[in-house]
Amino acid sequence: MDFRYDRQTRLKGFGSEGQAKLVAGKVLVVGLGGLGLPVVQYLNAMGVGTLGLVDQDIVELHNLQRQVLYSEKDLGKSKLEVVHEKLGAQNASTHFNLYDTFLTKENAMDILQGYDVVVDATDNFPTRYLINDACIILGIPFVYGALHGFEGHVSVFNHQEGPTYRCLYPNMPSSEEVPDCNDNGVLGVIPGIIGTLQALETVKVLTGIGEVLSGKLMVYDGLSQNATKISFTPYPANLKIKRLQDSYESLDCELVLEINVESFQAIRDSATQLTLIDVRTPEEFEQNHLSEARNLQLNQLGEVKPDAVFPQEVYVICQSGKRSAQAVKQLQKLYPNSQFYSILGGMNKMMAISPNL
């Protein structure tokens, strides 16, 4: 093996076998900011064979206190280009895949496909949840890092059936409730520490050395130099995500999908199978209901087993459309992989179009 890597190949427990695994390794790094830079610099120096880089930002003055690969003469340039140039000079044998874009639900599956490890070095919740879900669907472990002020988080999710980001934080916070670095500030050296830990975890996942930080969240506090490790277990439903959510935008604007009774009737007429939930009281349900309907009251919805399986499309009805809209909000949160439709005007409108119900 190359003398270049002599100081790590001579390590017992790593050796030329470990180096061969790095060379064969394909790692995607999402975000070339405070976390992403130490990750790509170390992985590139250590000889990871293929590095995918995703970012569309340009270098700005306020980046320089923590994004230490960039210099003053890089201001205004694309981060992707600067990183490519510097990393290419650092290690000419690395193969780079450049993605001049932000990760979106439209491009995520295509970009992630084929990588051995994904490194989440982003700075916002929607992209973190998107990476989580895409990695579960594709079966790729991902190395997570995130910052808040003087603190940082590190963990490895979706590694050998291990827990996921959603097992720790099931619901995506709004940007208002948890501020990011732009609003809250971050001490320049903290992303360097957390990003370097992410690089180490990536090497461990690729080579199989040591104990991967799977099922454990490391919370590092720079002010006290305390690192707390919290263990957590997988929540089975989170490992079974089969498709991306329709939106990863902030969940504040709770969008309720609605369907009018004419369109719904057309679906009833054509569909061989249909899932319809009637959220009225059992008394109301007994008086009249559609033949396909199953009665599930609004206040019982939270008690539906969280791992219950719903088909892709579920229709929800009540008397006038109010309770069904409320139910759709609740159900959509509990079962993000299904699409819930509230039937506009409810049973009142249904009876108006087919009076013999």
Partner: protein
């Protein structure tokens, strides 16, 4: 009962630790579960109620809402963080 605070919970409370009484001198209900602890803290710091996900660790393990807690447990509030 001492609670370690991380992330935005530290900012909300304005301190990195918080002490919760284990015997009531004021007639307030003493929290016996994780859920009750969240409610107890939420009364004093309503901003905590706004967090849509808040991990609570009891003795360094992620705890569900129904897990019981006592004076000897080491408790930490670990909200999600987003910076990068």
């Amino acid at each position: 009962m001492t609670i370690l605070l991380f992330g935005v919970t530290k900012d909300i409370v304005g301190s990195s630790t918080l002490s919760v009484p284990t015997a009531s001198a004021t007639g307030r209900k003493i929290p016996k579960t994780v859920k009750e602890l969240k409610e107890f803290l939420g009364e004093t710091y309503p901003e905590l109620n706004k967090l849509s996900s808040l991990a609570v660790a009891v003795n360094n393990s992620y705890a569900q809402d129904d897990e019981s807690i006592d004076a000897y447990d080491e408790i930490a509030l670990i909200p999600p963080v987003s910076g990068g």
